[in-house]
Amino acid sequence: MNFFTLAVKNLQRRRGRTGLTVLGVAIAIAVLFILVSFNSCYEKHLNKELNNLGMHILAVPKGCPYEAASLIMQGGVFPKYLSNKDLNAVKKIDGIEIASPMLLHQFIGPDGKPHVAYGINVNEMKRLKPWWKVEGRFFSQTEDNAKVLGKDIAQREKLKVGDILPFGPDKLPFKIVGVLEKTDTQDDEFHFLPLEVVQKIFGKPDQITAIAIRVKDISKIPEVTRQLEKIPDIQAVTITQIMGTIMNLVGSARALLVSVVIIAIIISAVGIINTLLMSVNERTREFGVMKALGAKGADIGKLVLIETLFITISGGIIGLLLSLFGASLIEVLIKGVIPYSPAARLISPEPRLIGFCLLFSIVVGFVCGIYPVVKSSSLTPMEAIRSGLE
């Protein structure tokens, strides 16, 4: 027999309570893990996603520039348009490397849900997004019945390269010539086509939703922005501004989420500490007996510590497993609450975070284990035995 078997036998004595306490710890740790993971990943992925737009400035129609920007990012459609005249004016500005027009058009797909057709200039887009890889091939700018699908949409609709599908109001047959490899951005959700094709099919000749601009030298972004805004129809939005807008938009929702979660964690932590202390308290007599049999205060502390650590560590491990397996479900829930979120996974098994959560559960175990040590060393064995009898 050793301290460990003694502790385990004690935990087995109250299986129901032990189980519930472990569950309580598990839930608290799971919530903590999800919250911290979400918080630390959100900004990182948002940043990455914005950088992966491959552009520095977005020229949009005058109106509500920030709203337009986030609409474009999520593939929404804005009721105002730029024209080829604007595009030509933009191209004349000094310091611009690429100015690529795009037209986004929303349509109802075969699944009855809104899809977005993304008209692009394919060569410029490939330069803006050099990381794009395609299974199959890209269309050429002059092909008028070919498209490339984002990975998520292709997977969801079980479409593959070579499939031919009716497209547009006139249900013309379009061939899927390529599927983009997963980018973990909104690009995974679009139907890409040549700009001119989208303009023609949806009856919007000469209309452009936005112009993606890359400058030659990032230090010139403010200068280029000033030049852009001299064009009467255009409002220029930098990626930094978009990031700021999104963070603002999301900030309050996130703050609410964080405070709810923190309160939940505090409540459950108090509950756990209470149960652990209670189970220690009702054994005061037993500890008195042990002291009478030659146990030091430290021996009793060791015993209690093993018990509480057993509970909190196993709770911590179960909680981590819970949150890792339940991560995709939880992501869907969180992303439903947050106004804008990156397409990438936000809850990921980051080793440092897992370590942190386990450490947290160990600390809770120690906090609960210290009290009985202090208490039992302040009582004589008889005082402990008597207090247990009352």
């Binding site: 036998k9 042990m290 002291k291 009478a292 049999l293 030659g294 030091k296 205060g297």
Partner: protein, 221 residues
């Protein structure tokens, strides 16, 4: 070596009950020699358990001096007391206080866990046999009779090879046949040279003692 294993001088203990103080012991003095067998008798409520607790260093007297093996107890830190209890004293409680989750054998073994004597495996079996519980070694306390629990408590008190055994009503609720077995056990311990101090109502057990200390209302007399 000092032959007085225990010497008590003016031991006084009061319990607080609300605002009034109840003196459970008043100025109790006596000496016990090494290897002696002393019985403490007296009516219920006379302070026997209180006295035994003080002798076992489980409680602290309000006044008076207590020396065990020549060491003055009062003022010693709990750490030192633990060591003293562990190495010198085997205590048998009136209500046994066995740990409900542990088997007979594990209950007897428990003090070894605290004294960290690891080469005692043979001794556990020997003691279990001595108290006549070999066949019940794997049973839990709630599966035992009162006499068997009593014997577990005795075995547990013996495991660390103490010099002094303090037993509180060891035959309290037992029939005469079972009591007889327990006397024989104590007789054997006494023959081995242990010092026995036993609180008892049992005249037969008290008769076997070298000496009887009578307590009435917390006083010797």
């Amino acid at each position: 070596m000092n032959n007085k294993i225990i010497s008590a001088q003016g031991l006084t203990k009061a319990y607080r009950r609300g605002s009034e103080e109840i003196f459970a012991l008043k100025e109790v003095s006596f000496v016990v020699s090494r290897g002696e067998f002393v019985a403490i008798v007296g009516p219920s409520g006379s302070g026997k358990t209180t006295l035994l607790n003080l002798l076992g260093c489980l409680d602290t007297p309000a006044e008076g001096n207590l020396r065990i093996n020549g060491i003055e107890i009062s003022g010693l830190k709990e750490k030192v007391l633990v060591k003293l209890r562990r190495e010198n004293i085997g205590f048998i409680f009136q209500q046994f206080f066995l740990l409900p989750t542990l088997t007979v054998r594990e209950n007897i073994e428990l003090p070894l866990l605290f004294s960290q004597k690891s080469n005692y495996k043979g001794r556990i079996d020997k003691i279990t046999e001595l108290v006549g519980l070999k066949a019940r070694a794997q049973h839990l306390p709630h599966q035992l009779s009162g006499g068997e629990m009593q014997r577990v408590a005795i075995g547990r008190a013996l495991i660390n090879e103490p010099e002094i055994i303090l037993a509180d009503e060891p035959t309290g609720n037992l029939d005469s046949a079972t009591s007889q077995k327990i006397y024989e056990l104590f007789q054997e311990l006494y023959n081995q040279g242990l010092t026995l101090i036993i609180v008892t109502h049992n005249i037969d057990l008290a008769k076997k003692a070298h000496r009887v200390i009578y307590l009435t209302d917390g006083k010797i007399g």
